[in-house]
């Protein structure tokens, strides 16, 4: 296996309740890259992110996924997280009564335990929180509130990126992070993502629209349609989609 490859997905088939949604996905991601996955509604974009993160609601029926040399599909969702896979949820879940502080502390210390490290002291942890909050200009008050409870759409997405900053993943999957964001929130979230970018990590941006890609510049753009990646190209593809919509691609594929 090439050491330069962070994620290698081959012929991935997966579905939910017996219905196949992903019908043979192939994807290779190297450190430092940003990949955009676009496509019309119902093409399988969110399923792909769920399957990579190990959501037990989905069943993988065929294919492989290798994550920096590890057999990703054999890992539990929490071990995938420890190994550096992060999913920014399209619909972040509310957990009433559990403060962000307690939640993040449990997450950070679970990861440290996985790597046989001592739990972070309360002082060090709070320092880390403060530092990372700045990345997405997250209010201190939000951090002391219950996880996502009563957060606005924009606050929820900022909170996702804040968690991403805390966990320092190798691969971040942003699932429709732009949905429900106004222009200011979009800017803050994107700047946060860009700040976290390095030559060692990679990002998959799943989006329906070009808009987000004005802020987070992709190196590659893939079009997902009917459970397959039907086209891959450079950033110019996103602009073309913005201009012409998805119909011409649909037509091309459906004619085949």
């Amino acid at each position: 296996m090439n050491k330069d490859i962070l994620l290698h997905v081959e012929n991935l088939h997966a579905g939910i309740e017996g219905k196949e949604i992903l019908k043979g996905i192939n994807l290779t991601i190297r450190p430092g890259e940003v990949h955009a996955i676009m496509g019309p509604n119902g093409s399988g974009k969110s399923t792909l992110s769920s399957v990579l993160a190990g959501n037990p609601a989905f069943t993988v029926t065929e294919g492989t996924a290798t994550f920096h040399g590890l057999d990703l599909l054999s890992l539990s969702p929490e071990d995938r997280s420890h190994e550096g896979l992060f999913l920014s949820f399209q619909y972040p879940v509310e957990i009433p009564g559990v403060s962000m502080v307690n939640f993040m502390r449990a997450a950070i210390n679970a990861k440290r335990k996985y790597f046989h490290e001592e739990p972070l002291s309360a002082g060090d942890f709070l320092k880390l929180m403060r530092q990372k909050r700045a990345v997405v200009e997250l209010d201190n008050k939000l951090a002391s509130r219950s996880v996502n409870e009563g957060f606005s759409g924009g606050e929820k997405k900022r909170n996702e990126i804040f968690q991403m900053a805390m966990l320092e993943p190798r691969l971040s999957i942003l699932d429709e992070t732009d949905s429900g964001l106004d222009i200011d929130a979009l800017r803050i979230v994107s700047e946060g993502v860009n700040r976290l970018k390095s030559k060692d990590n990679a990002t998959i941006v799943i989006t329906h629209y070009q808009r987000l890609l004005d802020y987070i510049k992709p190196d590659f753009v893939h079009v997902l349609y009917k459970g397959r990646i039907v086209r891959s190209a450079g950033p110019e593809l996103a602009l073309e989609l913005e201009e012409r919509g998805y119909d011409w691609i649909k037509q091309e594929i459906d004619e085949k």
């Binding site: 997280s81 972040p92 966990l167």
Partner: protein
């Protein structure tokens, strides 16, 4: 999906009971069975005055006319009241003058339970009365409290040293005629704690009683009496554990509280009696009558309970709000798993004007358990301006358990405002996956979510207890999810 969800929950609620050990202590235990003779024997063993024996006998005779209540949402196997020993005491020839005279095995037991009786080792902010089986072993910090005029001692000592106070208040809030188990307790009660806070005194430390059943085949029937005189304040904690045994053990306690003018009492319980194994074998039957009387105007009584143990719980800590503007509160978390059954709630009896009560009940059910909230809010004809708010939430872990709500509302004054809110929820797979994705394993996630759900109640516990109670919720539910 349903099945894996249930498996998850089952594994997480299947935690081991870590207080299940038995201490090897020589015990003075009377033969099984109950009769007037037994009642007299208990009274004699405790060297009680005649009036107390009379009280016991009256209660016993009344108890004989009663049958065990069966109105609760509980399936109680028949109890043979003649197969229980009603008095067991760690053998000790005379009362210990100092800690050095206490059986080291006893001290070890309480150390193991995390209740050190050595004063120097004690959490500075807490005084403890440790009760093993039928008697009080040791009460700490007594001298310090005595300087303020606070009486904190075992019930037996109170009978000897403060007979007038005990006689004045005993059975005034929970008369022996109250119910079957109250009558039984009044006949055979062994020990417990007595607290008196004099006028105008704020008790500077948490008072705590730690109950431990050790001997086999015995019942525990303790009695606690707390009196807060005018303008007094006290926060009182109660903890309980028992060894792991295959047979069931009966625990029928009474707690009576009296709040005089502007007095405030906070009573917190962390109940962790042995709950039986996963098949429902063994465990404590916890049939308890707890009630407080807010007799004075502007007085305040608050019950907080975290109920995680016992095979069967039957318990309704209540407040009789007699004084004008008095306030009653009830905050409860009741967790049931495996085959546990709980029927618990409160009674708020509004008698005075502008009396207010708040009820927050959080039930958590897992495994094959049954968890019921039963509560009465009663507003008497003269209770003008009475207010009650009840919030009653149920959280289900898995699909084989049951949650039930039985609210009784009885309003006889047209100015009263009574509100009842109820919700039922499950831990969603989305919540668990969200936690997993952030690296938090499922068991820990369930612990977090459950603690979050119970937070409103946990926040009411004194600091010293809150951490332990949080851990307890987590441990209790270990194995319920997997």
């Amino acid at each position: 999906m349903q099945q894996s969800d249930d498996q998850i929950i089952n594994n997480a609620t299947d935690g081991e009971y870590k207080y299940g050990f038995v201490s090897d202590i020589e015990t003075d235990i009377i033969p099984k069975g109950i009769s007037e003779e037994v009642v007299r024997l208990i009274s004699r063993k405790k060297g009680e005055p005649e009036w107390l024996l009379e009280f016991r006998l009256k209660a016993f005779r009344y108890w004989q006319t009663l049958t065990q209540p069966d109105w609760a949402q509980l399936d109680i196997p028949p109890i043979d009241y003649q197969a229980i020993s009603y008095y067991a005491a760690p053998k000790q020839t005379k009362a210990p003058e100092s800690l050095d005279e206490v059986d080291p095995e006893l001290l070890k037991t309480f150390d193991r339970l995390g209740i050190p009786l050595h004063e120097q080792k004690m959490l500075s902010g807490m005084a403890v009365d440790a009760v093993m089986d039928s008697v009080s072993v040791k009460t700490t910090h007594r001298e310090k409290l005595a300087e303020l005029g606070i009486i904190f001692c075992s019930f037996s000592e109170a009978v000897k040293d403060y007979p007038e106070l005990v006689r004045k208040y005993l059975g005034k809030v929970v008369p022996y005629t109250d119910n079957f188990f109250a009558a039984l307790n009044s006949a055979v009660f062994s020990d417990g704690s007595f607290v008196y806070i004099p006028k105008g005194v704020r008790c500077p430390m948490e008072l705590s009683t730690y109950f431990r059943i050790n001997a086999a085949g015995t019942g525990q029937f303790e009695r606690t009496l707390i009196v807060a005189d005018d303008d007094a304040y006290v926060s009182y904690l109660e903890g309980c554990t028992a060894p792991q045994r295959d047979e069931n053990q009966l625990h029928a306690a009474i707690v009576e509280i009296i709040c005089e003018e502007r007095a405030e009492v906070k009573y917190s319980t962390v109940q962790n009696w042995y709950s039986g194994d996963s098949e429902g074998r063994g465990g404590v039957y916890n049939f308890v009558t707890k009630r407080g009387l807010c007799r004075g105007d502007n007085s305040r009584l608050s019950w907080t309970q975290v109920e995680t143990g016992s095979a069967i719980t039957w318990k309704y800590p209540g407040c009789v709000l007699k004084g004008d503007n008095s306030v009653g509160e009830f905050y409860s978390v009741a967790v049931t798993k495996n085959r546990q059954q709980a029927d618990t709630g409160t009674k708020m009896i509004h008698l005075g004007r502008n009396t207010r009560s708040t009820i927050v009940s959080k039930g958590i059910s897992a495994g094959y358990s049954q968890n019921s909230y039963r509560g009465l809010v009663k507003v008497a004809p003269d209770a003008t301006g009475a207010r009650n708010h009840t919030q009653c939430d149920s959280l289900l872990l898995g699909s084989n358990c049951g949650a039930h709500t039985f609210p009784y509302v009885d309003v006889l004054n047209p100015t009263a405002v009574v509100e009842h809110e109820a919700t039922t929820s499950k831990i969603s797979e989305e919540q668990l996956f969200y936690c997993n994705q952030r690296g938090i394993p499922t068991e820990e996630a369930v612990g977090l979510i459950v603690n979050g759900y119970a937070k409103e109640v946990m926040n009411k516990l004194p600091m010293e207890f809150a951490v332990e109670a949080q851990r307890l919720l987590q441990i209790t539910l270990e194995g319920s999810v997997g």
